[in-house]
Amino acid sequence: MKRKIIVACGGAVATSTLAAEEIKELCAAQNIEVDLVQCRVTEIETYMDGAHLICTTARVDRKFGDIPLVHGMPFISGVGMDALREQILTLLQE
């Protein structure tokens, strides 16, 4: 089943694009079909309908219903990247 993933950043320097590329690669390797939406964190609500996962590279203090939220900063810093990949796969396969 196709998974809708929202990848969001603060909006100035496109860190969400870097995270989105990592997620695309990760899902392709696991044969998970994805529908990736990239936006600013301020726009997440606009796209959250039907989403299975939200990944942000900027901090957000609000909730998005039942949609799980993960922090994509490990894709930028390299610290904790493997754990994040595992977490994303687990969430997408549930």
């Binding site: 100035a12 320097v13 860190t15 964190v41 900027a58 390299g78």
Partner: protein
Amino acid sequence: MHNCEIFVKTNIAFTDYQDVLAHIGECMVKAGVVENTYPHALLNREAEFPTGIQLEQHAVAIPHCEASHARSPAIYLIRPDAPVEFFQADDEGTVPASLIVALIVTHPSEQLKLLRQLFGQLQKPEFLEQLLTAPEHQLSSIFEQHVFSQAEEKMSPVYI
């Protein structure tokens, strides 16, 4: 990131991160790479979306703001005398940034290749170690080697 200028600064002390941002704003306006609206925008952006990042062994901060405040692409690399506490990008609390990499970006999509290269290289402890220990006059060439050569972009070092 064509004609991306690199500015470097060492031997400088700051009272806090806002002091760092004020310094960056002032220098970049003086250098002519940003609009007069940049210093204010930089402060606002950091307040809303902080940029402190804990890497494997050290922390860095990558202050930046919307591209509309930039005139031409530049990177301002600052190595303060003592680490400066920046709020973390993805978590509560602060990290002691021993290197500050201000990004002046005019076209995020065009400059993505450079940013990808930069973030990739910052993940390498040996690259960061070099930036933290090398004398100031070598910083831009170290940066060029690691970040620009692979990104196939032109750069010109500037000292201020």
